[in-house]
């Protein structure tokens, strides 16, 4: 019997700053060489669990711990953060903020520098690990010059220089586009095999993580472990949707086809799940892709030319139209012009030539403030937008500045607050809100100005399945009731597949495709160009030789919207 690497027995933990315990009676073991996924909705306690493993609790976050916590047979609580870091390397969620060096080389070297190792030894280790992660050519680059994936690989190299045997990942997919996320998962997989590592991944994107062949999934909800088993058993039991997590898309499709998932062998792996017998029922699900039916052009973009500098042209004559009342998704790899386009629409940037028309009127002569009356823009990070201390004041501030009379401010603010389900919290200090609530608050603060067009930059970033579906229901509601045109910039495959009615693929400043999400996600060439990834439905279809997989995607779309 091999001794467990991590052994938790009846662990309960309460932060000093909180009244209730965050973790209740947690017991589990992780054995050497395992790859374990800890999944759970936000607030389930998975981040707290990670902090207990790497020593941030109790050393950075104070609290009361009971129970037995052991790493390598030694009590975790008795060891310093520094001792623990030699045994368990942590890769944090925000690959940008955790980049502490001025260059790639210095960031990889950071832990060794702190150990006061001789410089020549550090240099040879850095060279070795950087080349293993494909960063050999980039040693002298600053973080601003790197892509998200490269930053994350730097973080991984910076942790692995310690030669530790346990790697902890806090939401490794959060700041990556789907293509880079796929590369990251493959890399984690390869490392684990080559170096005989034990890997613990905290994530809620089940479809993506399952591609990395995890051995076990621990599902958390409300501070408790609700399931701890192989991926196959977990999916067969159907416990994921009950706890605010999305099942892989192909599993959703199988359920939709009334396949008895609970008895299906290898159901966690799209490449080996035994589905040959169900080809017909799956094929019967095919739903025609609904094409755009909206007719009134709301926003027209005409021959738009824009460059940040002469060397790197972004848009060289971009033309398209956005229709009244549609829900449009803009996708494309990072740095290809998606955010630039939204900044041009909102007036944050001015084009060199071309025109932008709203209802036939040119917007170019209007200021940012004037455009904001018609085009609302919600940034990715709510902390960039919030300026007031209470919920009500935050939403009212846009109206106050526009000198709307007090009575009307009150009515309009309350109405929007009710819509985003924050009215009962209107006197709360904003610091008491969760990330998802803050996000809804920033949307409300923009919506109160009654914009005809709403632009949202990565609205689902940092939110789990439950919060995402709440947010989407609410957006759908305003789209339906106020006929608001909604533009979403996103990498989120689920959002794209389930919510958007039309997708623009922008790569290197050119409009590569104007299509439906179902067709986009079934087109391997486009998916690659947009740094997306084909979904598991696509793989399932190709295994079963079902043509037109976009019609299976469409089946799922209808499935989800009826929730």
């Amino acid at each position: 019997m091999v001794a467990p690497l991590i052994d938790f027995q009846h662990v309960t933990f309460k932060y000093h700053a909180q009244a209730e315990a965050t973790l209740h009676d947690i017991s589990f073991q992780i054995y050497p060489g395992e790859k374990v996924l800890i999944a759970g909705a936000s607030g389930s306690g998975k981040t707290t669990l990670l902090r207990l493993l790497n020593g941030l609790i109790p050393q950075a976050y104070a609290g009361d711990i009971t129970g037995k916590l052991e790493l390598n047979g030694k009590n975790i609580i008795d060891q310093t953060l520094f001792d623990l870091s030699l045994q368990a390397g942590t890769v944090l969620q925000d690959s940008d903020a955790q980049f502490v060096g001025l260059t790639v080389a210095e960031d990889v070297a950071f832990a060794l520098e702190n150990d006061h190792q001789p410089v020549d030894k550090i240099k040879s280790k850095v060279a070795k690990w950087a080349s293993r992660f494909g960063l050999g050519e980039r040693l002298d680059l600053a973080p601003q010059m790197l892509s998200g994936g490269q930053k994350q690989r730097t973080a991984m190299a910076g942790v692995l220089v310690d030669d530790g045997k346990l790697l902890l990942f806090d939401e490794p997919l959060a700041s990556l586009d789907p293509a880079a996320g796929n590369v990251a998962m493959t890399m984690i997989n390869r490392l684990q095999v080559e170096r005989d590592l034990t890997v613990v991944i905290i994530e809620h994107r089940i479809e993506e993580v399952l591609r990395a062949d995890v051995d076990r999934i621990i599902v958390m909800a409300d501070g408790k472990i609700v399931a701890n088993d192989t991926p196959t058993t977990i999916i067969q039991s159907g416990i994921l949707p009950e706890n605010g997590l999305d099942e892989p898309l192909f599993v959703q499709l199988l359920r939709k086809a009334n396949v008895d998932v609970a008895t299906l062998a290898n159901v966690a792996d799209v490449n080996s799940v035994d589905v040959q017998a169900y080809k017909q029922v799956i094929e019967d699900l095919k739903t025609p892709v609904i094409k755009q039916v909206k007719k009134n052009k709301k926003l027209v973009i005409k021959d738009l030319v824009f460059n940040y500098d002469d060397k790197h042209p972004i848009f060289n004559g971009l033309s398209t139209a956005i229709y009244q009342g549609e829900i449009l998704g803009i996708v494309g790899k990072n740095g290809s012009g998606k955010t630039t386009l939204s900044h041009l629409l909102t007036g944050f940037l001015t084009p060199e030539s071309g025109d932008i028309l709203l209802d036939g009127q040119s917007l170019l002569s209007q200021s940012i403030k004037e455009r904001a009356d018609n085009i609302g823009y919600v940034l990715q990070n709510p902390n960039h937008m919030i300026t007031k201390s209470t919920v009500y004041d935050e939403v009212a501030s846009g109206l106050v500045l526009r000198e709307v009379d007090a009575q009307e401010i009150e009515t309009r603010t309350r109405k929007v607050l009710k819509l985003v389900d924050l009215d009962s919290m209107r006197h709360w200090p904003i610091s008491a809100l969760s990330f998802g609530q803050k996000k809804r608050l920033t949307i409300a603060a923009v919506l109160v100005l009654d914009p005809q067009v709403l632009i949202l930059d990565e609205p689902t970033a940092g939110q789990d399945a439950t919060h995402t579906s709440e947010l989407l229901n609410f957006l759908k509601e305003i789209n339906k009731t106020a006929n608001t045109t909604i533009i979403i910039i996103t990498h989120d495959m689920h959002l794209l597949a389930n919510f958007v009615s039309r997708a623009l693929v922008i790569v290197d400043g050119t409009l590569l495709a104007d299509t439906t999400p179902s067709e986009l996600l079934a087109n391997a060439t486009l998916v690659e160009a947009a740094s997306l990834r084909t979904t598991s439905i696509y793989q399932l279809a190709s295994r079963l030789n079902i043509d037109q997989p976009e019609m299976l995607n469409a089946a799922i779309v209808h499935h989800s919207t009826t929730i």
Binding site: L81, L86, Q98, L102, N114, P118, S367, K369
Partner: protein, 274 residues
């Protein structure tokens, strides 16, 4: 590379020298230059530092802003001295050679000579500072600070500030635009009062995002054992070569010359009026 302070790879001997040697050289020369009021010595020092800057191949455009900034302060400084202490030169040199004016506003040769000395101090120290900042990799500079006795936590604070300044700048831009969209006018169209009110609206979100960032950074640093040992090594640290020893020896010789002059002149002043 982070070029906030104008560091660039240039193929000169000053670039190749270690940060520690340059820092010691800089501190030695500026200290003696600040102590000494021997005009001859200061002029030689200025010529030396301008010559050094020539060999460092730093273009005028790169430091033009810094030069104008320092010149502006130098002039303000000199004007203020003339206004507040017009007779300081007389007291200092013990003689009184009136050029023009009368009463409080008597301008003497001594006063002008004294202020000339101050001006040269700017002229020799600015090129030295420019050389140090422009030819030293920021991380190596931090390593240099640590080598000469500054605790590494403080030295590293310098490097980490440079690392995150671009991020804070980009946060600032984003927040500013977002607040304008909300309706805070901070463009030139609005009155100064409205603009300053708008600017205040940027500060709160900027502070909160920065605090979040600092939280993550300090965790990331602790998780990689920053602060565990009494000393740390520096990836960018360079091995001392003969060049570095020459720089240190050279600056000590110049420093020694300055100290000798203190004895020859019987004090800090060189007095041509006696």
């Amino acid at each position: 590379m982070n070029n906030l302070f104008g560091y660039k790879q240039r193929d000169t001997w000053l670039n190749r020298a270690t940060g520690t040697a340059k820092l010691i050289g800089f501190l030695t020369l500026t200290t003696i230059g600040m102590i000494s009021y021997d005009t001859r010595f200061l002029i030689v020092l200025s010529l030396l530092s301008v010559l050094l800057m020539k060999t460092a191949k730093i273009q005028y455009q790169e430091y033009a802003l810094m030069l104008k900034f320092v010149l502006f302060f130098a002039i303000i400084n000199l004007v203020m001295i003339t206004i507040l202490a017009p007779q300081y030169g007389v007291r200092l040199y013990g003689t009184n050679h009136v050029l023009f004016g009368s009463g409080y506003w008597t301008i003497t040769e001594e006063q002008l000579f004294y202020e000339f000395n101050l001006l040269i101090k700017y002229f020799f120290s600015l090129p030295l500072a420019i050389i140090l900042l422009f030819t030293t990799n920021p991380s190596e500079f931090a390593a240099g600070l640590n080598k000469i006795g500054v605790p590494y936590k403080i030295a590293y604070a310098f490097a980490i500030t440079l690392r995150y300044i671009p991020d804070v700048q980009s946060d600032y831009r984003t927040i500013s635009l977002a607040q304008q969209a909300r309706g805070y006018e901070i463009s030139k169209k609005a009155s100064i009062l409205a603009r300053s009110r708008g600017a205040v609206q940027i500060i709160m979100p900027l502070v909160f995002t920065s605090l979040n960032r600092i939280d993550t950074i300090s965790q990331a640093m602790e998780l990689r054992r920053f602060g565990r040992e009494k000393q740390r090594s520096w990836y960018q640290e360079q091995v001392f070569s003969r060049l570095d020893i020459l720089i240190i020896v050279g600056s000590i010789i110049v420093g020694f010359l300055g100290i000798t002059l203190l004895f020859v002149n019987n004090g800090r002043l060189y007095n041509p009026f006696k």
